[in-house]
């Protein structure tokens, strides 16, 4: 039995800009092969946070929602960034066809997955999980929780 330590971290942001800034902070702590799963409802700020992470990784391209295309690929300063969105997928067999397992966790890549629920069983043990939610009171406030796992 290997023990897994889970570290949790919560941040509340009160604007899109702050969410982007937080993404940049996260980026500075990522290393080659990192996999990040982003959980949260429609409009909870997943793509905004991804924008920040990509900016932090030195991506110069326009980062937008890959819901339709499933996967966007960007060139970071040092690493290739895969921006994945599994919203449209309904079964794990479809998941295979995206090729996610071909690049997820591989050397010199960062994989960011929106709507990762369907891929839960194939996420690496040390995937960073990020949960985002709206606040009830304010349209611009987001509650963001990070879960990091270490063996």
């Amino acid at each position: 039995m290997s023990d897994i330590t889970v570290t949790e971290f919560v941040r509340i942001t009160s604007s899109k800009d702050e969410t982007v800034e937080f993404g940049k902070e996260i980026a500075s702590n990522l290393k080659s092969g990192s996999v990040i799963a982003l959980y949260g409802n429609l409009g909870s700020g997943k793509t905004t946070l991804v924008k920040g992470i990509c900016e932090g990784l030195g991506v110069k391209e326009n980062v937008n929602s890959p819901t339709f295309t499933l996967i966007n690929e960007y060139k970071g300063r040092e690493l290739d960034v895969y921006h994945v969105d599994l919203y449209r997928l309904k079964s794990t067999s479809e998941l295979q066809e995206t090729g996610l397992t071909d690049f997820m966790g591989s050397y010199n890549t960062i994989t960011l997955i929106e709507w990762p629920e369907i891929a839960e069983s194939i996420l690496p043990v040390d995937a960073i999980k990020i949960y985002l939610s709206h606040s009830v009171e304010n349209e611009n406030t987001r509650w963001i929780k990070l879960e990091m796992r270490k063996k």
Binding site: G43, T48, N64, S65, F68, T69, I71, R88
Partner: protein, 335 residues
């Protein structure tokens, strides 16, 4: 004698094959599988494996329907990108292999560029410049087009595509995803002034689009006013939501027209069949604008637009066919 063109499009869910003679489409087959998903709410069987399964069959159907034999083909084209790489490669390599084995020229075609020219399918030549608006479930792009291979991207979405905004609004309203066409239909029955959903302004660019905020705005509106999800006036909300999205598409397009003194607009992509969008742009015709929309069947992803744009390129641009054969498929739009 005009080229007989064989073209393939497999950038996303659809598998499509078309045969053209010059600018004229002889056949345009789109896989029925995803056709059902679009119109019947069935989930599309995704990506490369399903493309591999059906591409040969669809190609045979396209040849048959066009009454063209394989040996009549003189030019081959396929979508090189952007799209899902596994899907793209299926069609791209099928087309390359077809061209190589028959020793005929091959052209790699950009999906977005072919959308830009899709409203002109059938035209032997086009007068430039014009402003192009590509609006679909995956893309929202505004461009100034100066020649068949020369254009400037003025703006694009910084988050969700316009079609995606409709699809996701539908989801929030309890409709099946993707609900874009359904929202449009319901909106026709509703009051567009029921609620004002603000248009997002994008910093640093007057031509960029943002549709993520309006999605959140709708979510909050629903939570606040209909916490129990009951008696939602779905027609009125659809109409109000649609008004905001279409108005943001229209205002940026018109700004581009004014700024560059251009009165010719070509709108393409799946959202170009939106009722309100069509009415709003058609209204401009009385102000002297020339408005072009794709013919039915050419607005969503299809191979006819790939073949047509390949034809235009072969006629009006310098194409290095040897180099085209060595090109690779690519996932992201190279603007």
């Amino acid at each position: 004698m005009k080229d007989i063109i064989f073209s393939i499009e497999t950038s996303c869910d659809e598998t499509s094959v078309s045969v053209l003679q010059g600018a004229k489409v002889l056949s345009n087959i789109i896989s029925s599988q995803s056709f059902h998903s679009k119109y019947g709410g069935i989930v599309p069987e995704l990506a490369s494996r399903s493309h591999i399964k059906i591409i040969d069959k669809i190609a045979t159907t396209a040849f048959k329907e066009a009454s063209v034999r394989k040996k009549d083909i003189t030019l081959v084209a396929a979508t090189g990108g952007p799209g899902l790489i596994g899907s793209l490669l299926t069609g791209f390599n099928f087309a390359k292999a077809f061209a190589l084995s028959r020793k005929i020229p091959f052209i790699s075609i950009d999906h977005i560029e072919s959308h830009i020219f899709s409203p002109f399918i059938g035209y032997e030549k086009i007068d430039f410049p014009f402003i192009a608006l590509v609006v679909s479930g995956g893309h929202t792009i505004l461009a100034k087009v100066e020649y068949y291979d020369k254009y400037v991207i003025l703006g694009q979405t910084v988050d969700d595509a316009a079609g995606e905004a409709f699809d996701k609004a539908g989801k929030l309203l309890g409709l099946d995803y993707p609900a874009g066409p359904e929202i449009d239909r319901l909106a026709e029955l509703g009051n567009e002034n029921y609620h004002h959903f603000p248009e997002a302004v994008v910093r640093n660019s007057v031509y960029n689009f943002s549709f993520s905020g309006i999605k959140t705005s709708l979510l909050y509106f629903l939570n606040e006013n209909f916490p129990d999800n009951k008696n939602i006036p779905i027609n009125d909300i659809s109409a109000s939501f649609r008004k905001s999205v279409i108005s943001s598409l229209l205002s940026r397009t018109l700004k581009a027209c004014t700024d560059y003194s251009i009165k010719k607009i070509a709108i393409s992509g799946g959202v170009s069949s939106n009722f309100l969008l069509r009415r709003k742009f058609r209204e401009l015709e009385s102000d002297g604008f020339e408005i072009y929309f794709p013919m039915p069947g050419y607005s969503t992803d299809n191979a006819a637009m790939i073949g047509y744009y390949a034809y235009l390129r072969s006629i009006y641009c310098k194409v290095n066919y040897t180099k085209e054969l060595s090109l690779n498929a690519y996932p992201v739009f190279r603007s």
